[in-house]
Each structure stands twice: as structure tokens, then as C-alpha cells.
């Protein structure tokens, strides 16, 4: 019993995957930013390379190696330890940027982890997208709004390289520095966005209030008319901090910021970003059983 559509299928799939690696290969670069262990990066725009922050152990004397064997000096434009991304500018790179996948990664989708850990060509491993989620708190103290997780093996030197789909488009940027023991990637759309901010500002603006807090349950009788079941009890207010200046007091229970409700620390962290930093925003607290609103100018963390 021969059925050409069936017997050929494995070969077709095999060819497509090799094609995908071949397609991404020119945009895949080796990044020299630490001693002995090179990492990977991907050309995502004209003369710009996205890579992982943790593989750059120095700010200067960074170089890249291209698919056609050129070693070029790279300038560090910006880095964001929280999402483990960094952007390099390479003058005269002249390489067609990699394509971002048209839609977000789906759980179960086939994916290839690719890297250029040596001068012996692109390397790859096969897996599926195991999870798509977020926000998640990372090992380096930041919040990642979205992440993709894979079971493809991250060989040494793969950090900073892309996770691609079977057409060679980028699903995410691989990192092993964010969560211990699992291989995750920063989704392409998020990585491209972060890279845009990094090229403009050099870093991602993250705000702070200057309080220590603890999540507490709110019994129905003490919710002061709000629906949420928990809030953040302020247990310390740093002297001279944005919170102190705005009039936040020890014992206040934080329940909202800028119109969004806050039920735990992660909610608060997720809100202290972007253009809220440096701006006065309304902060809702339960004080003495009643809801009050104070204005706090969110400080910028250095």
C-alpha cells in the first residue's frame, strides 16, 4: 500500500524546518559580550540587533559575528534587565532584518530554538510552545507582561537568539536568565516594542512609590464599597519618597492606582511603568474604614 501524500509528508516537514533555519540564518548573529561564552542575537531592524541583557557582562568592547564571517564592533544602545533584553547598533551591518511572526505563539505550535554560539554556522533544536502566559515575576526582580515557554533545548550560547516558527518568523527572543529551569522567550511583539523604547531612551522607565506593603484580605464589611477581596497594607513609608510626599500613611490599604484596582504586589508593579512614571496619579486607599484618594507623583527608579 503506497500513498505518496503520506510517505512524502515527513520529508516535506523536514525540508520546511531546514528552510526555516536557512531563512533566519542571515539575521542570526553571534554576540561577544562576556568572557569565553559567546551568545546569540537577531537583527530586527536596519543595523540593530536584539539580544539578551544577561549575556552582556560589559558595556564596551562588544562585537558580533555575522553569518558571512564578518566581525563588527557593536554599540550598546540600551538594556532592560527586567525583561532580559538589550539592543546593539552595528554600523554597516547591511543585513535584512528578521520577520516578526504575524500572530502570537500558540500552545502546541512547533517551534525551533536557533542560535549562533560558534563560527560553525547556525544551530537549532526542536520543540513546541509549551505555555503562553503572563504577567510573571522574573528572577531579576522585574515583571514580564507576557512570555512564551518551550521544551526546545536551549544549548549553551542560545540566549538572545530567536524562537522561530516553521516559516522562519520570530515568535520570541530566548532567554535562560529570567526563570530558573525553564526556557522562556519574550514574545516578539513585546521584544520589538521594548527594543523601540531602548533605542530611544536607553532603558525602560520603571516607577516606584517608596513603600513597603503586604497583601491583606478585605472582609466585606471593610471594603468601603469596593468589590475586590484584597488590598495592599502599607507597612512602611520611606522618608521623602513619592508616597510620603503624596501623603500616604502607615496603615493605609492601597486598593487602586490611576483608576485600576490593586489586589496584590504584582498588580502594583505592573502599573508602575511607562508614561505614569513622573506623573501625578490618583491613588485610592482605605483609611479608617473610608475610601480616600491622594495624588502621588510616581518616582523613577534608577
Amino acid at each position: 500500500m503506497t500513498d505518496p501524500t503520506n510517505t512524502d509528508m515527513f520529508g516535506t516537514l523536514s525540508n520546511q524546518m531546514a528552510d526555516a533555519v536557512e531563512r533566519i540564518s542571515p539575521a542570526l548573529v553571534l554576540v561577544n559580550g562576556r568572557r569565553r561564552h559567546p551568545a546569540s542575537g537577531v537583527v530586527y531592524a536596519q543595523d540593530l540587533v536584539l539580544t539578551a541583557d544577561h549575556v552582556l557582562e560589559r558595556d564596551e568592547d562588544i562585537s558580533i559575528l555575522t553569518h558571512d564571517g564578518r566581525t563588527l564592533a557593536a554599540e550598546l544602545l540600551g538594556r532592560d534587565p527586567a525583561s532580559d533584553l538589550a539592543v546593539l547598533r552595528v554600523q554597516g551591518l547591511g543585513i535584512e532584518p528578521a520577520q516578526q511572526a504575524a500572530s502570537e505563539a500558540r500552545v502546541g505550535q512547533l517551534t525551533l530554538a536557533v542560535g549562533r554560539p560558534s563560527d560553525e554556522g547556525a544551530n537549532a533544536s526542536l520543540g513546541i510552545i509549551s505555555a503562553v502566559g503572563g504577567p510573571v515575576r522574573t528572577r531579576r526582580g522585574g515583571m514580564l507582561e507576557r512570555y512564551v515557554q518551550t521544551d526546545a533545548i536551549p544549548y549553551p550560547g542560545f540566549s538572545g537568539g530567536p524562537l522561530i516558527d516553521t516559516s522562519g518568523a520570530v515568535l520570541g527572543i530566548l532567554t535562560t536568565g529570567l526563570m530558573r529551569g525553564v526556557t522562556i522567550g519574550v514574545p516578539a511583539a513585546h521584544a520589538w516594542n521594548t527594543a523601540g523604547t531602548l533605542t530611544q531612551h536607553g532603558r525602560i522607565r520603571r516607577g516606584y512609590l517608596g513603600i513597603s506593603s503586604q497583601a491583606v484580605e478585605l472582609p466585606e464589611s471593610q471594603r468601603a464599597g469596593r468589590e475586590q477581596e484584597s488590598g495592599l497594607l502599607v507597612v512602611r513609608v520611606e522618608e521623602g519618597s513619592p508616597a510620603a510626599q503624596g501623603g500616604l500613611l502607615l496603615g493605609d490599604i492601597l486598593v487602586g492606582l490611576d483608576g485600576q484596582s490593586i489586589a496584590d504586589i504584582d498588580d502594583l508593579q505592573a502599573l508602575l511603568v511607562g508614561d505614569r512614571v513622573g506623573r501625578a496619579v490618583p491613588v485610592e486607599v482605605i483609611r479608617g474604614g473610608t475610601l480616600q484618594t491622594v495624588q502621588v507623583t510616581i518616582g523613577q527608579r534608577n
Binding site: 509528508m9 523536514s14 524546518m17 531546514a18 536557512e22 554556522g121 547556525a122 537549532a124 544549548y155
Partner: protein, 239 residues
């Protein structure tokens, strides 16, 4: 709101791929053999020609003195002889007294591409004819730590375990592109490219002739007393 309409494709691609892999493996399985060497566990081998040449790793047959046996899928077992071996390449070629055997087709490993799908068949932990699938992860050369030689390799993410050694790495068409050998291992799987194998096998006759003439010469002179090397081999042997 209307429920989204599920589009059902005419055929399911993943089923077609699964069927294709299963058929390919069915075709190749008879070419994959078990290699038993003395007290050691089983390794894997691949039938290289119909007249009984079987290829495996050097480290599978390295122990001297034990009986070497080759087991086929049809249940037959043959006593095997080592015809030639090369520790530097981790290759050995055996001969079994049989003919009309299902030889595995070989492909040129020089045409392999990173990302291509590969299949390993072998006996990990003594479990028979186990199939694992992955892709070619990288191609290149590596310096072997203990002899300083450059060895060419195919690395892949197919799962290999002790017992897989000496078995074939197949491409999607079911042709042998490498011999699985984990000795440079770690968390990645390493195979010896078929190119290296065929080049080594091409010199088989020449090496045999050279050995025979050396033996003749040796017989003409008085034999030298032998030095016992047993402890040494055990200490530095393959593990």
C-alpha cells in the same frame, strides 16, 4: 454572538506525518541489530551490506575476550567477528556469517541541513528497537579531549541513552546519515557523519592487506615476549 466556525481540513497533516514516520521506521527496522559483547550490556549496530557487514561503535565492542553476538529483528543470533576498528573515530565493523541481509541505505551526510528531521533507532537501556525523533542541531568538528584529534560530528536533539551507541541516525527518507555515538556527549546527542564512515570503510581492504603482510613478517622472526597490558586497559577503558 455567533459561535466561531471550526474549519476542519480535508486531512490532518500531523496524522500524515505520524504515518510517514511509522512506515519509514517499519522499512528500516530490520537493518538495525543488537550487539552483545561479553558481560557488557547491548549496543546497537546497523547492517551495512547484504553479506554480513555490520557497523557499530568501537566502544561497544572494545572489551576483549567476550563473545560477540549480533541479534536481528527476526530473532536470529549470529556470532560476530571484528574485522576492523578505529578508536579515534569510535567505529568498528563486524562480520556475521549470513547473506541476503536487509542492508540500510546510506545518504551523504555532507548534504545534511541544520533543522532537518532525523530519527534514531536503537536499544537504550536494553529496551529494544526504540525510535526517537529530533532535528539536526549543528554540524561541525570537535576536538576529542583525550587524543587531541579533530572529529567531525552531527549534533541533534534526538534522545539517546546508553545502548543507542552504534545505531543509525536516519534522515526523513530513512537513509543512514550517521552512527550514533554519545562519547562526546553531554545533554546533546552526537553522531558520526556517514561521510566519515564511508571514507573509513573505503580503506578496509588496504588495511587488511597491510595487516596480513605485517603478520607474515612477524611469523618469520621469533616472537617477542608479551607485556601484560590488562590493568591498563581496564583503568583507561571505555565506560
Amino acid at each position: 454572538m455567533e459561535a466561531p466556525v471550526l474549519e476542519v481540513p480535508a486531512y490532518v497533516l500531523s496524522d500524515a506525518v505520524s504515518t510517514a514516520i511509522a512506515r519509514m521506521v517499519d522499512r528500516v527496522r530490520p537493518s538495525v541489530v543488537q550487539v552483545h559483547s561479553g558481560r557488557r550490556g547491548a549496543g546497537t549496530g546497523v547492517i551495512w551490506d547484504a553479506d554480513g557487514l555490520v557497523l557499530t561503535n568501537y566502544h561497544v565492542v572494545a572489551e576483549k575476550g567476550g563473545r560477540l553476538q549480533v541479534g536481528l529483528t527476526d530473532g536470529r543470533t549470529f556470532e560476530a567477528q571484528v574485522i576492523d576498528q578505529e578508536p579515534k573515530l569510535d567505529l568498528a565493523v563486524l562480520k556475521i556469517p549470513a547473506s541476503g541481509l536487509p542492508a540500510a541505505p546510506a545518504a551523504d551526510s555532507a548534504r545534511l541541513r541544520v533543522g532537518e528531521m532525523v530519527v534514531a533507532v536503537g536499544h537504550p537501556w536494553g529496551q529494544r528497537w526504540v525510535v526517537t525523533v529530533g532535528i539536526v542541531g549543528g554540524l561541525g568538528s570537535v576536538r576529542v579531549p583525550w587524543n587531541g584529534h579533530e572529529a567531525q560530528y552531527i549534533r541533534s536533539d534526538v534522545v539517546l541513552a546508553p545502548g543507542n551507541s552504534g545505531g543509525p541516525l536516519l534522515n526523513a527518507r530513512g537513509e543512514v546519515v550517521g552512527i550514533n555515538s554519545m562519547i562526546f556527549g553531554g545533554d546533546l546527542s552526537v553522531s558520526i557523519p556517514s561521510q566519515v564512515v564511508t571514507k573509513w570503510l573505503a580503506g578496509l581492504e588496504e588495511r587488511r592487506a597491510r595487516r596480513e603482510s605485517r603478520q607474515q613478517q612477524a611469523e618469520e622472526f621469533a616472537p617477542r615476549p608479551r607485556v601484560a597490558h590488562g590493568w591498563r586497559r581496564r583503568r583507561f577503558g571505555w565506560r
